[in-house]
C-alpha cells in the first residue's frame, strides 16, 4: 500500500530531520526523523512518555524544537506558532479537546481562522453545514459546545481542520474517547480524507486499530526513534514488542471470580447535576458482591464522575436509603466517616486529588490513612514515615524516598503508591477510576495484579474505566453508563465488546423505560 502511495507522488508532504527537544530532566525527542507522503495514514506509536505528544506539538508549532529541521512539500519551514501551521495546511485534533464550551460550534471554528481565511470562506455556517454533509460529520454550527457529547466534540475539532482545506491532519489518541461504533465512523472519515490526498498522522496505543487503518508506522521509545514498519505486515504482538522492548511482560488472561454475598448496594439513585455542564444520574441501581470486580464502561462525561463522588461522599449531599454498606446507610455519612466504614477510593486525577503535588510521600500517606498514626490529635510522624517506606518497597514505587514530593514521581509510580495506600486500609469496597490511564505497561501489570489480589481477599471493587479492553480483562461483571443511566449488569463472559459498545451509546435506555412502563 505504501509503495503505491510513494509512486503516486514522489514528493513527501512532510519530512522531519533530526528533531531534538530537551525539557528539564528529560530528553523528550532525540534526533527523530520521519517522512509522510500525501494521502498516507501514518501511525505514531509509543508508550506514555515516549515523546509522541512533544513531536506532534513540534509539527503543529506549539513546541519549538532545540534543533532539527522540518521540510514541508520539500521546503524548509520554521513553524513558530499554530497559526503558522494552519497557514501551511496542518490541522490538529487534540487529545484533550481545545474547544470552548461556552461558545457555539461556529464561534469555536471562527477563532481558528485568520481574517483572510474567514473572508475567503464567506458564510461560515453554510460552509460547516456543507462539509458536515460531505463527510457525514453531523455537526450543527449553532449549537453550544457544552451541549455536545464527546464524540460530537471530536467531530467539531475535525471540522475545524476541514474548513481550512487541511493537507495534514494530526490526531492525538482520537479513539480512546469513543465508543467502538463511533470509532468505525471516524475511520470512514479518515479514509475519505486519505483518498482525497490529505496526509494523516495518527497517534494511538491501540494496536489493532493501527493495523486496521494505517499504511505506515513510526515507533518511539524513551524519546528515541526505534523503528518503522508497515502495520499490515505485522501483528499487534510484534508491534508491541517494538514499543516496550523485549523485557516487558504482557497481561495474560485472568480467572473470573464469582462474588458471594452483597456488601454494597445502590438503589434508585437519582441525582441532579451539581455543575452546570454535569450529568444527572437517573435511577441507577446496582449491587457489589464480596470478592468481585464490577466494571463500568462508558465514554467520559456520562455520569461516571458524578457517580463516584456521590458514593465516596465528595459530593456532600445526603441521600437517605440509597446506599448501603454492610447493611448500614452510607448516604447520610460524611466522606471521612464513609472511609472509616471501609470505603476506599482511587480517583482519576492522581496529582492534585489522589495526592497533594507539593507534599512528600509520607505526608501523602497520612492524607487518607490516619488510623494508628494519630493519637489524641497528634501525628506520630515517625510511624507514618516507616509505613510510607514499607508502601514504597511493597509496591516497587520508583522514587528518591518517602520524603520525595508526589509530583516528582512518574504517573505509573504515583498510581502504584496511591493504590497501595488505599489497599493498605483493608477496604471492604474499593472504587477505582481509570487505574492505568497514562501508565506504562509494567506499572499497569502491577496495578492489575494488586486489584486482583484485593478481590481474592474478599473485597468488592467498582472499576470505572474508558478502556474497554481493560474492563474485559479484569471485570467479573460489567455494565455501561450513558447520560446518567446505568445499563443492566451482566457477567463478562456472557457479553461482547459489541454489546457493551452499544450500551455505551445508550441503546438500553429506551428498552428500560419501556420495561418500566409495562411493569
Amino acid at each position: 500500500m505504501s509503495e503505491t502511495l510513494k509512486n503516486q507522488s514522489l514528493k513527501p508532504r512532510l519530512e522531519l530531520l533530526n528533531i531534538t527537544k530537551q525539557y528539564p530532566g528529560c530528553l523528550a525527542n532525540d534526533q527523530i526523523c520521519m517522512t509522510l507522503m500525501p494521502g498516507e495514514i501514518h501511525a505514531l506509536l509509543g508508550e506514555n512518555g515516549a515523546g509522541k505528544s512533544t513531536l506532534v506539538k513540534t509539527i503543529y508549532g506549539v513546541v519549538s524544537p532545540d534543533s532539527g529541521q522540518i521540510l514541508w512539500d520539500g521546503q524548509a519551514v520554521d513553524i513558530k506558532s499554530p497559526s503558522k501551521a494552519r497557514d501551511l495546511g496542518i490541522g490538529m485534533v487534540f487529545q484533550h479537546f481545545s474547544l470552548f464550551e461556552t461558545l457555539t460550534v461556529a464561534q469555536n471554528i471562527e477563532l481558528c481562522l485568520s481574517p483572510t481565511q474567514l473572508a475567503d470562506i464567506g458564510n461560515l455556517a453554510a460552509r460547516i453545514t456543507k462539509l458536515s454533509q460531505d463527510y457525514g460529520l453531523n455537526v450543527d454550527p449553532d449549537r453550544y459546545v457544552h451541549s455536545l457529547s464527546i464524540g460530537e466534540r471530536q467531530r467539531v475539532e475535525i471540522m475545524r481542520c476541514l474548513v481550512q482545506s487541511v493537507k495534514l491532519l494530526i490526531l492525538d489518541e482520537p479513539t480512546s474517547v469513543l465508543t467502538p461504533q463511533e470509532v468505525a465512523g471516524l475511520f470512514n472519515v479518515l479514509r475519505q480524507l486519505s483518498n482525497e490526498g490529505c496526509s494523516i498522522l495518527f497517534i494511538s496505543h491501540k494496536l489493532h486499530e493501527v493495523t486496521e487503518i494505517c499504511h505506515n508506522a513510526t515507533i518511539l521509545r524513551g524519546g528515541k526513534f526505534v523503528g518503522d514498519c508497515e502495520p499490515a505486515n505485522e501483528t499487534p504482538a510484534t508491534i508491541a514488542k517494538m514499543m516496550v522492548g523485549d523485557l516487558a511482560e504482557q497481561d495474560a488472561g485472568y480467572e473470573k471470580a464469582h462474588g458471594e454475598e452483597v456488601i454494597f448496594s445502590a438503589q434508585s439513585l437519582n441525582l441532579a447535576a451539581k455543575h452546570p455542564f454535569g450529568t444527572s444520574l437517573k435511577n441507577v441501581n446496582f449491587e457489589l458482591l464480596k470478592g468481585e470486580i464490577l466494571g463500568i464502561a462508558g465514554v467520559a462525561g456520562n455520569g461516571q464522575e458524578e457517580l463516584m463522588s456521590i458514593i465516596s461522599g465528595e459530593d456532600n449531599r445526603t441521600l437517605k436509603g440509597v446506599f448501603t454498606l454492610d447493611d448500614q446507610d452510607l448516604g447520610t455519612l460524611s466522606a471521612g466517616a464513609r472511609r472509616r466504614n471501609g470505603l476506599a477510593y482511587v480517583p482519576e486525577e492522581r496529582l492534585g486529588r489522589g495526592a497533594v503535588p507539593e507534599m512528600s510521600l509520607s505526608e501523602n500517606t497520612l492524607l487518607t490513612h490516619s488510623r494508628g498514626f494519630v493519637k489524641s490529635g497528634l501525628v506520630n510522624w515517625k510511624a507514618v514515615k516507616d509505613y510510607a517506606k514499607k508502601l514504597i518497597s511493597d509496591y516497587s514505587v520508583k522514587c528518591h524516598g518517602e520524603f520525595a514530593e508526589a509530583k516528582s514521581l512518574s504517573g505509573g509510580n504515583l498510581q502504584k503508591f496511591i493504590m497501595g495506600r488505599e489497599i493498605g486500609q483493608n477496604p471492604k469496597v474499593l472504587i477505582c477510576a481509570h487505574p492505568t490511564w497514562g501508565v506504562d505497561v509494567g506499572a499497569a501489570l502491577a496495578i492489575h495484579q494488586a486489584l486482583l489480589t484485593l478481590r481474592d481477599q474478599g473485597a468488592a471493587i467498582l472499576l470505572i474505566s474508558e478502556d474497554i479492553d481493560e474492563l474485559f480483562l479484569l471485570a467479573d461483571r460489567m455494565a455501561a453508563v450513558c447520560d446518567g443511566h446505568l445499563s443492566p449488569v451482566v457477567r463478562t463472559e456472557e457479553t461482547s465488546i459489541d454489546q457493551i459498545g452499544q450500551w455505551m451509546a445508550g441503546t438500553f435506555i429506551n428498552a428500560n423505560d419501556h420495561a418500566e412502563a409495562t411493569a
Binding site: A335, G352, E405
Partner: protein
C-alpha cells in the same frame, strides 16, 4: 545568552532567601527614592532601620508595635495556609478593641482582679464574632471572603467611630470622641519600668509558638495544610472543610481581637478613633514575609515594627511623610512575590544548557 528555566524541584534555599532578598531590594529602591527627594539616603535608612533599635526605650516601643502585628499575622498565616483569604484582620482588631473597651468601661471605678481578664476575654470574643460573620456567609452562602472581610473592616471602623461619639464617649470628656480612661486594674501589666512592653507582647509570641505547634505536630494542622495546598485532595480525603474554615477564621479572629484589646488596655489606656495605623493590613505583609509560618511571622513582624518606628522617627527627624511606610510595605510585597519566582525557576546561560 541568558534565559529562564524551570527547576525540577523547588529551591529550599530560595524559599528562605527570598524574603531577605526582597528586603534588600526594597532598601535599594528606598535609597533611590530618597536620593530623588533630595534626602540623604544613608541618613534616611539609618533613621528608618537603625534608630528604632538604638536604645532600650526605642526597642521597647518597637516591641509594642510588634505585638499586634504578630498576633494578626499568625492568625492570617493559618487562614492563608487553608486558602481562606481573610483580609479582615483590621476589622477584627477594631472589633476586639471595641468589645474589650465595652467590658473595660464597666470596671472604670473598680479594682477587681477580674477586670483585666474579662476585658481581654471581651476583646477576644468580639474579634471572633467579627470573624464569624464572613465565615458564616462563606460556609453557608459561598460568599466571596475577600470582599466580605474588606467590607466588614469599613463597617467596624464606622462602628468604632460611632461608639466613641455615642455610647462609649466619656461623659466628662468635654465632648471629645474618646472613652473614659480605663482603671489600673483593667490595664495589662507592664513588664519593665522603663518601657511600655506589656503582657500582650508576651502573649503574642506564645501564641505564635502555639500556632507553630498546631501546624507541624497535629492532625488538624496537617489537614489545614492539605486544604490550602490542594482543596480537591482534602475533599477526596474526606476532611471537614467547614470545620477547618471555622477553626482558622475563629482562631484568626481571636488573635486579632486580642491584638485590638491589648492596644486599648495596653499602651493607649482608653478607646479612641485612631487605635490602629493599619496593623491588620500590614499583617498581611508580615504573614507573607514570614512564609505563612508562625516562626517566620515573629521575624517578619519585628522588621515591620522597625519600619513603623522608623517611619515615625523619619517624619520627626527628616520631614519625610509617614505615608512612606505604607508605600514601602507595598514595594516589599512586590519584591517578595517577584523573588519567589526563583523558587520555581532559575536563570541559566544557554551554553550551560547545551552541555
Amino acid at each position: 545568552m541568558i534565559r529562564v528555566q524551570a527547576r525540577t524541584e523547588p529551591s529550599t534555599l530560595m524559599t528562605f532567601a527570598s524574603p531577605f532578598l526582597a528586603i534588600v531590594l526594597t532598601l535599594i529602591f528606598g535609597s533611590i527614592l530618597f536620593t530623588a527627594l533630595d534626602k540623604d539616603p544613608i541618613q534616611a535608612l539609618h533613621v528608618l532601620l537603625v534608630l528604632p533599635l538604638s536604645d532600650a526605650y526605642n526597642i521597647s516601643e518597637m516591641l509594642v508595635k510588634m505585638g499586634p502585628l504578630l498576633l494578626c499575622a499568625v492568625g492570617l498565616s493559618l487562614c492563608y495556609r487553608a486558602n481562606m483569604w481573610n483580609i479582615g484582620a483590621e476589622g477584627q482588631l477594631l472589633a476586639g478593641a471595641l468589645g474589650g473597651s465595652a467590658v473595660a468601661l464597666m470596671f472604670v471605678d473598680s479594682e477587681s482582679f477580674m477586670a483585666m481578664p474579662l476585658t481581654l476575654l471581651g476583646g477576644i470574643l468580639s474579634g471572633m464574632a467579627w470573624a464569624a460573620i464572613p465565615t458564616y456567609l462563606k460556609v453557608k452562602f459561598n460568599s466571596n471572603l475577600i470582599l466580605t472581610t474588606i467590607m466588614l473592616n469599613y463597617i467596624a471602623l464606622y462602628l468604632l467611630i460611632w461608639a466613641v461619639h455615642g455610647p462609649l464617649r466619656d461623659p466628662d470628656g468635654f465632648g471629645f470622641p474618646e472613652s473614659a480612661l480605663f482603671s489600673d486594674a483593667t490595664l495589662l501589666p507592664v513588664l519593665s519600668d522603663s518601657g511600655r512592653v506589656h503582657l500582650g507582647v508576651v502573649l503574642a509570641i506564645l501564641l505564635a509558638l502555639f500556632a507553630w505547634f498546631i501546624l507541624s505536630k497535629t492532625h488538624l494542622g496537617f489537614k489545614i495544610r492539605v486544604y490550602g495546598a490542594d482543596e480537591p485532595a482534602a475533599t477526596y480525603a474526606g476532611y471537614n472543610a467547614k470545620g477547618i474554615s471555622w477553626f482558622v477564621m475563629l482562631f484568626a479572629g481571636a488573635l486579632a481581637g486580642l491584638a485590638g484589646v491589648s492596644e486599648v488596655a495596653g499602651p493607649i489606656g482608653q478607646l479612641t478613633p485612631n487605635i490602629s495605623p493599619g496593623y491588620g493590613y500590614s499583617a498581611i505583609i508580615v504573614a507573607y514575609l514570614g512564609r505563612l509560618h508562625p516562626a517566620g511571622a515573629i521575624i517578619a513582624s519585628i522588621f515591620l515594627a522597625i519600619l513603623y518606628m522608623g517611619g515615625d522617627l523619619a517624619q520627626i527627624e527628616m520631614g519625610i511623610p509617614i505615608a512612606v511606610v505604607g508605600m514601602f510595605q507595598g514595594v516589599l510585597l512586590f519584591f517578595l512575590l517577584a523573588c519567589d519566582f526563583f523558587i520555581r525557576y532559575r536563570v541559566v546561560s544557554s551554553r550551560e544548557n547545551m552541555a
